[in-house]
Every structure is written in structure tokens, then in C-alpha cells.
Subunit: 193 residues, 2 copies
């Protein structure tokens, strides 16, 4: 439980196709036979690669947020200046969102289809990601460049980012990097001391 599927060209392709199908027709609306047809594999071969349909859902729902956590930790470790750190976190987050629209659609719509403890694990990843931003706000407050930012405000800011997966595809005019800078400006203008 809680392990990622191994990343091979085959499982990566199955995950990508499944994510798009689940996003389009719902997790319960896509059968294993349909998924097998879409990736050109029989039932047995498909199960060999994915374990179970729920393993696949768990993998789709958790992979992008695990990536966000890893990237955010690395940014925070390398970026002592809190303001610059928010700028980098913001761009990284927007880029990851823009690259994982179907995974995020599936995660937000189907998280209740995950059995425990997987449902809780995915929620805990989201909380872990939030805690990274909170720590940057705390650092900024200590250094007197930010005002005090409550957990609730941090959650509000992250909601602003995450919500964008709902429309990002349709308004493709702005690059994810540029959006990240625009969002960072909103956050920074709200928290600067």
C-alpha cells in the first residue's frame, strides 16, 4: 500500500491513457476491458502491469502531488530568500498543474473511490505540500519580510493555484511560467510586511 507503480514505458503509457479516460468518463465509467483495448493489452497483461484498477487510480492521484512535494523541498533547500522562494514555488506549482491536468481532474473527482489507507495517504500528501509553503511563510515572518500568515491563509493561497486545473486547458494563452509569476505577485502583495 502506498507504493508507486514502477515507471516503465509500458506503465507510463497505461497511466497516461487511463488518466485521460478516467478524466473524460469517470473512474467507474471506464472498465478494465475498455482500458485494455485503449492500450492494446489483454486483461491478463494489463493486470500484470497495473496490479488492479484501484492501484492505477492511486498512482494517478498521488504521482503529481509527490512530484510537487519533491520539487518544493528542493526549491526550499536551495533558496534562502523567502520572497524568491515563493516565486519559485509558485512557478513550479503552476507548471506541474499544467502538465498534470487529467491526473488532477481524476484526483479531485475520484479521491473518494480510493479505499483506506490510500484515501488518507493522498490527503496527507496534500497536507505535506501545504506545510512546505507554511514553513516558507514562517521563515519570511522571522526575517520580517512577511507579515504573519495563518494556515488558513496558506490554504486559501494554494486553493487559488489548485483551482486553476479546471480552466487552465481552455485558456491556453498564458504560459504556466507566466501564470506562476502572476499568482506569486498576488501572494506576495498579500503577505509582504
Amino acid at each position: 500500500m502506498g507504493d508507486k507503480l514502477k515507471s516503465t514505458p509500458q506503465t507510463d503509457n497505461i497511466r497516461k491513457v487511463a488518466s485521460e479516460l478516467f478524466a473524460l468518463n469517470g473512474y467507474n465509467g471506464v472498465g478494465v476491458a475498455e482500458l485494455g483495448n485503449a492500450v492494446g493489452l489483454g486483461r491478463g497483461a494489463l493486470y500484470h502491469h497495473i496490479g488492479s484498477k484501484e492501484d492505477l487510480l492511486y498512482d494517478i492521484a498521488s504521482r503529481y502531488i509527490i512530484h510537487m512535494i519533491e520539487e518544493a523541498k528542493s526549491i526550499v533547500a536551495d533558496t534562502p530568500d523567502p520572497e524568491e522562494c515563493i516565486n519559485k514555488l509558485s512557478e513550479s506549482l503552476m507548471v506541474t498543474i499544467s502538465k498534470n491536468l487529467s491526473d488532477m481532474t481524476v484526483c479531485f473527482r475520484e479521491i473518494n473511490s480510493l479505499s483506506e489507507p490510500r484515501h488518507k495517504i493522498v490527503s496527507s500528501y496534500h497536507l505535506e505540500y501545504q506545510r512546505i509553503w507554511e514553513a516558507v511563510f514562517e521563515r519570511g515572518e522571522k526575517e520580517k519580510v512577511f507579515r504573519e500568515v495563518t494556515r488558513l491563509e496558506c490554504k486559501a493561497f494554494l486553493g487559488m493555484y489548485f483551482y486553476s486545473f479546471l480552466w487552465l486547458r481552455r485558456d491556453g494563452k498564458q504560459s504556466a511560467h507566466k501564470l506562476g509569476r502572476i499568482y506569486a505577485n498576488i501572494v506576495l502583495s498579500a503577505v509582504k510586511a
Copy 2:
């Protein structure tokens, strides 16, 4: 098409029960027989009240946003000061979100189950609501109390509010009014001239 179901105690009850069932088990996961059982009506009587299952979905997905539009228009008409207007819009929005969690869950998750033109109509309501906030930001800019706020920024702010339906229930410690004031402070600190 596009008409609201008549509001009677019976249809209000059916809508409420259906909204909670759809939010819990998905629109396609709830059959008319199950819904009939839940409200104590046979198939014929149920259809008499709701028209069709999709009429009910459309009603659930559109009613809260129509309410938001009506309330926002009234606030804007009565509140000449742009800053006060944002405060009032913010509180009104948060209160409406907190009172319509299951309707919003259904709307955001199931909007693609609506056939045209209903799908487009619901999207257009969301855009109409956004335009009301945009007009307040423009008014504030004209009066030199706000900086220029782009449409994208306005969309970002509203995303911050709307996203809260995902967690509002679980963090019930804060009142919707108080949350509305906290969110308004974020918006105002980001846009004040």
C-alpha cells in the same frame, strides 16, 4: 431548457436529497429508483416533480450560482465604495459556498454530464458572476483606490473562494462570515492602489 424547477416543499426536498446522493455516489451512480426510495416517492410521482434526472442535475448545478449572481448584483447596486463592496461580495460568496457544499460538489464533478445547451448555460453563469467582480475592480481602479486588476487575476481570486468547497465542511471551526473577511483581506491587500 434553462428553466429552474419550481420551488415547492416537495421539489426542494427532492433536490436536497438528490444533491447529497449525487455528491456521495456520483450522478451516474444514483438511479431513479434509489432516489425515489430516498424521498419516499414512486417512479411516476418522482418524474412528475423533477421532469427528468438531468433536469434535476441542471437545477442542482445552476441554482447556487444563480443565487450568487442575484445577491452580488444587489450588493453592487447598494454599495458604492469598491473596498466595502469587495468585503460584502466576499462574505456573501463564502456564505453561499458554505450553504451549498453538496450542490457545488455535484456541479464541479458532474458538469460534463449536462447536455448542451445546459452545459454552456451553467458555464455562462459562472462567467457572469466573474464579470460582476471585474466591474467592481474596474470601478475601484477608476476611483484610484485599486490598481489595475486583470481578468486573469479576478479569476485567480474567485478560484481561491470556490476551491474552499472541497475542505469547508471538514474545517468547520471558522464561520463562513469570518472566512469571507479573511479572504477579502487577501484580495484587498493584493489590489489596493
